[in-house]
Every structure is written in C-alpha cells, then in structure tokens.
Symmetry: C2
Subunit: 393 residues, 2 copies
C-alpha cells in the first residue's frame, strides 16, 4: 500500500531543505538584482544573462511559497528584489516584456515571445497577493490585457508565417491561460474571469483535444482541422499532461466533476501514449502519424514533463480515486527520483538522453529555472499530505 505520509515527507523535505535553499542561495544577484538561472551542477554560475521567462517564474515561485507555505521574510525579499529588477528592466516602458536581458538589465532580445508576458503576469499577480502592492497588481492586470489582445497573433512582427497561408493556431497559449487565470483570480472581475476560463477550457477540451485520436495536438488549422505537416503532426505529451491538472484545478474551482473526469481520461491516455516502453520515461516530442520529427531532441527525457505528470496523476487520484492514476504516479515517481534527482548536490537534472543518462549536468539554464521542480514538489507534497490525512480518518 502506498505510504502517503512518507511520500509527503519526502517531497516536503526535498522542497524545503534542498531545492528552495538552492535557489535562494545560488540564484540571487545581490549586485544587480534579479536572478542567475544558468547554474551548474553545484550551483555555480556559468552564464549571467537573464531570461524573462525564468525571472518571472522565480518571482512567482517565491511569492507562492510565501503565500501558501509560510510567511518567511527571506522568501518575500527574494521575490520582491526579482520583481523590482523586472519592473525596472524587464519591459520597454509599455509592458512589452523582453525575452532576455544582460546581467545589468540591458535588453538583449526583443519582446517576441508572449510567454515572457504570461510569466510576468503570474509573477506580479502572486506578489500583489503577498504584498497588497497596487503597482504590482496594475502590472499584472495590464500585462494580462496585452496577452489577451495578442491571442490571435502572439508573435506579432516576428511571425514568420506568410499571411493568408496555412496558418496554424497553437495549443500553448490557451493551455497556459487556463493556469494564469486561476493564478491571478483575486485581481480579476468575476465576469471577465469566467469568460476567460470558458474560452480556455473550450480551446483545450473541444478544440485541441481530438477525440478521434484520443490525444491533444500542438497545432491545428485556423478552422480547427487537423493538418498533415510537421507542426500539425506534433505531439508533446508532457505539455498535454500539464494542461490536465490546470483543468482539474478549474473543475474543482467551478465545481464541475465532468471537467475533472475528462481531464483524468486525457492525462491517462497521454501518459500511456508517451511512455517509452524500452527505456522508461516520457518522450519529449512525438508525431501523431508516427513520421520522423525534425526536433532532434524528440526522444530525450525532460524534467518538467515528468514532474508535471506527477502532479496530474496525483491530482487525478486525489479527485477521482482512479487507481490507474496512482499506478502511473508510482511508476513516474520511481523513474523521476531515480534519474532526475542528484544524490550529491541539490536541485534536479533537467535533460536526460533516451536511456535516462544525464545529458547535461546543469541545474538551470536558458529554459530551466526555479519553477517546475519546486512547483511540482510543492503540489505533490500538499496532495500527499491530504491523502495521508484521509487515510488516518
């Protein structure tokens, strides 16, 4: 029988004794503000550029820990110093968020990437909740408005698709908006929130989830049709699985068990499809017609894919009691702790080859920061604790 109590302790201790101290100690740039995220195996800094995705995500994470675990001053200070750096240097003055800055805060890469904006929204939103600071609240709300206004052309002038040609809409933005909306719920008008959530749910469940293949696709034609091209065949099981726990959260929030059931069904189909029977772990990219991909990293095993799967499986089990969710949680738990956790230094590896061997020894980089590992440990810890309490009743 699953020992939820021991598991809760394992996730909690990994989070609070190892991962959070790692980022607190190693990532803060006390000279220029913001965070280093290019951290080697032992936490030493190997590059000082600052990527807005990861700056925003770390602000969010420390504000979230402050709000939901404990009112620790050092967590709040860490979030505030990152937010102040972002507020000053992260955007062009009109809340158009750059993609990358140098260490001092000079912009390097233009605001071409809409996810720089979404992570700014959750950063300032969560920190507004922690501090009551009206300026942070305004930044979150206004940036969210910009995101919504750009849903139809998120890449703006950096879009390379020829206008009027086969233009595809992609899963990533509606998927993440499901999460963003709940993250900043206290800052939004109830009607506006409800409408945003309805649109996101519709896009994920009725549009990008395709009942004829039982999976979520990454891109569709403008009229919602399947397209037989590299982009149109692309599957990203981890991405789809991550979206299912956003939907379960919305199902709980809206008191709609039908949403939860649907999300659990999708998450199980995705993990079964994405699992590598030969070497274990979940593939990064797949092709819905089994054709070769051009992403050369397609067969690698990435930390976030596995951590998001842990959350979805555990949440599915917690909310529905489906035993398949618990089985998959345990299988992915075993794989994840065996391969991603580093026995000698805190924080987890991010990139394994297909065999599950460490491909890159880094703990943080251009795309891996203080986000999926602590968020996943936090979510799993809390759910495991609740499951453990239930057992004791």
């Amino acid at each position: 029988m699953t020992n939820f109590k021991a598991l809760a302790e394992q996730y909690k201790s990994e989070l609070l004794d190892k991962v959070v101290p790692f980022w607190l100690d190693k990532s803060q740039d006390h000279e220029f503000g913001g965070y280093f995220t290019c951290l080697d195996r032992d936490g030493s800094v190997y590059d000082t550029d600052k990527f807005i995705w990861l700056q925003g995500r770390e602000v969010w994470m420390f504000a979230k820990l402050y709000n939901e675990v404990e009112h620790k001053q050092e967590w709040l200070d860490c979030a505030v110093q990152g937010a102040e750096f972002l507020k000053k240097y992260g955007h062009d003055g009109q809340l158009n968020w750059y993609f990358a800055l140098d260490r001092e805060g000079q912009p390097l890469v233009e605001p071409y990437n809409i996810f720089s904006y979404t992570f700014a929204v959750i950063a300032f939103g969560q920190l507004a909740i922690a501090t009551g600071n009206k300026e942070y609240e305004e930044i979150a709300r206004k940036t969210f408005d910009i995101v919504l206004s750009r849903v139809d052309n998120p890449k703006a002038r950096w879009n390379k698709a020829v206008p009027g040609s086969r233009s595809l809409k992609t899963f990533d933005l509606p998927m993440i908006l499901c999460n963003v909306a709940l993250e900043i719920e206290p800052l939004l008008e109830p009607d506006f929130l409800r409408q945003t959530i309805d649109t996101c749910l519709h896009e994920v469940l009725d549009v990008f989830y395709r009942p004829e293949i039982g999976l979520v696709v990454e891109a569709l034609g403008k009229d919602g049709e399947l397209v037989d091209s590299f982009d149109g065949r692309k599957l990203n099981p981890g991405h789809a699985i991550e979206s299912t726990w956003f939907i379960m959260d919305l199902g709980k929030r809206l008191n709609r068990p039908d949403l939860i059931e649907k999300a659990v069904e999708i998450s199980l189909a995705e993990v079964e499809y994405g699992w590598d029977e030969q070497y274990g772990g979940i593939f990064y990219f797949m092709d819905r017609l089994g054709k070769p991909r051009h992403e050369l990293e397609f067969d690698q095993k990435l930390w976030w894919v596995h951590i998001e799967t842990l959350i979805s499986m555990l949440k599915g089990y917690q909310l529905t009691g489906n035993p398949k969710c618990l089985e998959w949680f345990e299988r992915v738990h075993d794989y994840t702790w065996k391969h991603f956790a580093d026995p000698d230094y805190p924080e987890w590896y991010g990139y394994l080859n297909r065999r599950g061997e460490v491909l890159l020894p880094l703990k943080g980089g251009k795309w891996k920061g203080c986000f999926h590992v602590p968020r996943g440990l936090f979510n799993c810890w809390k759910m495991l604790e609740e499951l453990s309490r239930r057992e004791q009743k």
Copy 2:
C-alpha cells in the same frame, strides 16, 4: 598502404549507382514540380512541404553533376524542372526567397533566412553554366547582389536582437560566401570576384579563426572580440572544417599555398578538438569554455559534419601531403561508412545519437536533402582518382 583506386571506386559507385538514382527517382514531384525532400528510409515521401534551401541545393547538385561528371539529359532535366519551380514560386517577385512553400508552391514561411538566397545563387549559377540560359544567370547575379547588400543584417525585420545591444556577427555567412563566389565565378566581374573573395578570406582567417584558442568561433562581438555568452561560446567543428576546404579551393585558385597551409592547420585542430574519444564521431556543438550548451542535440553525430570532414582531410592530403590528413581521413571514413551508410536502402542516415546509433531513420527532411552526401561523394571520388593516378606514375 591506402588503396586510392579501390576507394575511388567505392565513392564513385556509391554516388552514381545509389545516391544519385535515389534522388532522381524518389524526390522529383512530377505533378507540381520541384522536389520532395522529406523521404523516409526507403525513399517514401512522408511530408510534401518544399524548403527553399533544399530545393536550391538539389538544382545545384544535378547541374553540377551534369557539368562535371557527364552530360546526362535526365540530370539536366531534373535540375531544370526544379529551377523552373523555384523561379515561379520560390520568391516574392523581387528575388526575396521564401524559406518554405507547400507542395503546390504557395509560400508558407517568409524570406527571413539569408541562406535560402545563397542556395538560390548557386542553383541558378551552376544551371546557367550548364545551359547558357541568360535568365538563370540574371537570377543568380541579382540574388547574389541582394545577399551582399544584407551582410550586415541578414535576418532583416525578423532579427530579434535589440538594436544597439550586444549584437554579434556570425561565421556562417562569410564562410558560405567563400564557396558561393567560386561556384559562380564565370558570372562575376574579375575585380568584383577578387574583392568578394578577399573579404571572405579575411573574415574567416583573420576574424573568426582565433589564434589564442586555435579554433574558429561561430560568433563574435561587432569589433571582433570574443564574447562570453551562449552564442559567443559556441563552437561548431563541422562548420569550421567545411570552411577549410572552401579556403583550400580558394588557395588553389589564387595560387596561394599559404592559404592552403593555414586551412590544413585549422582543419586538423578542429577535427582533433571535435572528435569524441569515447564513442567516436565528431560532436555537433561544443562550448569553447566547456560550459553546458542549450542546444540539446549538441552531442549528436550529423552526416554533414562527417562528410565535410572527409572532403577537408582528403583535400588537405592531396594539396600538402600532410600524413595527419590521411590518418584522419581514414578514421572518419571508417566511422562514416559504418554508421551513416544504410546497408539495405540507398542514401545515408543523417542523425545519429552520441553512441552512433540511428536517431532518425529518414534519408531526407527539413534540413537534409540532395546535397552533402552526393557533393561529398563526388569530391572524394575525384580526389581519390587523382591520388590513384599519381601513385601509378
């Protein structure tokens, strides 16, 4: 002792009996024109989009074979039909070359990529030499002018670097211009040709080759300084090695043995640095400071890297007699024929994992077409033949 005669026969037969017939039979789209390049292991088409890089390269390859191997009508017809498709659909009417078209020729991806232009230049240039067609000549010459006019900002409006920030210049364009200039030599004014060649040689040998590390870097600051950033630390040994045989060709053309000696020295340094002592083969990307890369494919073994190395090593041996070049040719020859050649179907695999196992079974895709394998086989065959003749004297 190396049996140049047998090797020449091996390369010739692979080219003319297997690889060229593969592309001639499998890649031509007799319905809409142009070429399919997304070909699976056995040559079956798995995607019909048409990428301008690969369309231009295949025109060039068949025109080159026609010009330098044999006046086979089917080779010329194959080149001409591809060129007519490109002429009609490949650009916007102003010789701005798109990146991708759909099967019918509708543009999909905007002309953001300068290498679509460079491959159009060599395609129409080589075909103008084959046919004497003035229109093809004009297309080549005018497109080359556009390339030269865009050297300072090749990505045009799709450039994501913030103006005035740390902007880097990259090795790829000057490197490829060394080759393009010689490819279309008969179409250029001698003074203009000489000036273009001088600029390219200077950029490669005096700017991107860094004597303090003995290697070519992929990107430098605007004043030619080394930069400690992801882009500024990036090494691509195959790319550097490919450039050395372009320079050896220029050295021969300009009757400058000093250029040849320098190029041989660089090519040997690169192959020694890039060779994977553990599993064999040459790494795709490396970091000059040994820091982690963000390209997740960094440790893979790619076909073109190895084929270009075969050319450089053999050319170095042919022109200087340096025995190290022959040793490296033999080592890379063994690796390449063992891992990239497919015993059951024609054409070679393109993508191996670090261990040298096939990562993707495709023979062509978005980036692999009718180019490096046949060009490499052709060049090696001709050099081996000449070395074999020398021996017999």
